[in-house]
Amino acid sequence: MSATPVSVPPAAKPAADAFRLEGELPMAGAPAVPMFEIETLRAKEFLPAAREALSALIKDQSENRVIGPVFNWARRNSLFPLHWGLACCAIEFAAGFGARWDAERFGVVPRSSPRQCDLMIVNGTVTWKVAHKLITLYEQMPEPKWVIAMGNCATGGGPFRTAYSVVPGVDKLVPVDIYIAGCPPRPEAMLDGILKLEELIRERKE
């Protein structure tokens, strides 16, 4: 990584003056330190560096009092859940996207690729055999991301908690934000869980 942090003492950089503008824009109180020390910036390293700089810039903005709420609003109103079905709750999950409940009203659209998801709805029993795949899927989802444990099995093992092959609660594997009770929960309960998550996102100011 060629970009060094800002905390490097200014005296150590005579080359920095070469990048000064001729016109000398008035920058009152600004330290005479360039943001990045440009050494050998190859193309392969440029894009990650630019990406990090950009994401740092954006991250600062989320604390901004003006822009922060806009992104918070966008996030909580556009939750894309992962399209998968574990067990019984998956049927009610599908029914929730059917004509009667239509979760798309709230901007909830299932996506098949974890890269494009914000929300993992664990809709069914999690077994130890699928546990590491579930964790992989969770890690493939980009930040910020949330998890809903839908139904008793995902919450605590449900009727299968004593079984040898069942994870007693998905919170043993990934952090869970919302638990929905029911075996299986009705589609209304699933929608309610999603709306509760929206409230949670609003309260946490994420």
Binding site: G23, L25, A43, K44, L47, P48, R51, S55, I58, S62, V70, F71, W73, A74, R75, N77, S78, G98, A99, D102, E104, R105, F106, G107, R111, S112, S113, R115, Q116, D118, M141, P142, E143, P144
Partner: protein, 375 residues
């Protein structure tokens, strides 16, 4: 009002901005208020305005598709974010803008980032070329139709680059399907367009629209219209030809590994292309911004009437695409290619023959006489 008016406005805006800057920083006032600098800035502002308009239209188009699709499916679609869900797509966009972007471990960095960007940029350039109303033909060139189709056919390259560089088997299969499909359907599109060109005698989109003053080309060239619409569906990768993104077998197709803003680029560019496709159908076959001669002139005389009718036609044509999407299953790759080579191209050739015959005979029984085409 026309594009010239809009350009004057942006020129005034550019001059104002530069003068204000010059007023604040006196030493650079003289160089930056030079007429060349102002012109460059004015062109930039003009382009930005056009771009903003096309983006807004694209987002509205996504909303239109979601609502329409919802109705076809006996449900409502997005409705809680903004009035009737109008802000839903803005929420999606803002959210994706702030998502963590990352690349898979083994992905090729350059291709992974440049593919979607180039795809997006080439789709946006198209809006500088298309005329949208009389007077609103800022980028109109003598060969604008050819240029539009040429830029339109860049897409498979960038799709394949991004699919290949994301190092995912599903992406790769999707990219290969996409390349095969788009290349196969370029030919019928061009042949269908050839018959329009023969009939109108011009490669300029503006001229083609004006040639349709007497009658719209869909009547005599109905075969070409069918071929063009079907091939456009394949070019836009929509059902029944959405094999590259066939969700059932390829997860998300060539954008499986893309998340965050890069995914938003793909989505946006897809719909930009859909908008361009609809616009091309309207321009080539449905008379562009003109209305039939029997319509009272009051309908076309108020300001911005041309744009209004044009947008209305575009959205209706896109509604047709949505209707197709709601009611047809997906075809298979070999079937798609077979239809492309065995049915579309002969039909398009037939249409070229018909158009040539029409130009020779000069008169169509029902639609009247062909204007001075090719003369």
């Amino acid at each position: 009002m026309s594009s010239a008016t809009l350009y004057s406005v942006s020129y005034a805006l550019a001059a104002l901005i530069l003068n204000v800057i010059g007023f604040i920083i006196p030493p650079i006032r003289a160089p930056i208020t030079n007429v060349d600098v102002v012109t460059v800035l004015a062109v930039l502002i003009f382009g930005a305005l056009l771009l903003a308009a096309s983006m807004l239209n694209t987002i509205l188009l996504i909303w239109w598709e979601r609502k329409l699709l919802g109705r076809f499916m006996d449900r409502r679609g997005a409705m809680h974010v903004g009035f009737a869900g109008l802000l839903q797509n803005f929420a999606d966009g803002f959210k994706l803008f702030r998502k963590n972007t990352f690349q898979p471990a083994e992905a090729d960095t350059l291709g992974f980032y440049s593919g979607p960007t180039a795809y997006m940029v080439t789709s946006m350039i198209l809006f500088g070329i298309l005329p949208i109303s009389s007077g609103w033909n800022s980028g109109s060139l003598p060969l604008s139709l050819l240029l539009a189709l040429a830029i339109f056919s860049f897409a498979p390259l960038f799709i394949f680059v991004s699919a290949w560089s994301s190092n995912n088997k599903y992406s790769l299969m999707g990219g290969m399907r996409s390349a095969a499909q788009m290349i196969a359907y370029e030919v019928p599109i061009l042949l269908a367009v050839v018959s329009v060109v023969i009939l109108s005698g011009s490669f300029s989109l503006t001229t083609i629209v004006y040639e349709q003053q007497n009658y719209w080309f869909w009547g005599p060239l109905v075969v070409a219209l069918i071929v063009f619409v079907a091939a456009m569906l394949a070019e836009m990768e929509r059902i029944p030809f959405d094999l590259p993104e066939a969700e059932a077998e390829l997860v998300e197709g060539w954008n499986t590994e893309y998340g965050g803003m890069l995914f938003a680029f793909f989505m946006l560019a897809d719909y930009l292309r859909a908008l361009v496709g609809s616009i091309l159908v309207v321009l080539l076959f449905l008379g562009g911004w003109t209305l039939p001669t029997w319509v009272p002139s009051a309908a076309t005389s108020f300001p911005l009437a041309g744009i209004l009718w044009f947008m209305l036609k575009t959205y209706l044509v896109f509604g047709l695409f949505v209707w197709v999407r709601a009611s047809l299953p997906r075809v298979r790759t070999d079937q798609l290619l077979r239809v492309g080579w065995n049915r579309m191209i002969p039909l398009a050739l037939l249409s070229v023959f018909l158009a040539a015959a029409l130009v020779t005979v000069r008169c169509v029984p029902v639609f009247g006489c062909v204007p001075s085409a090719g003369a």
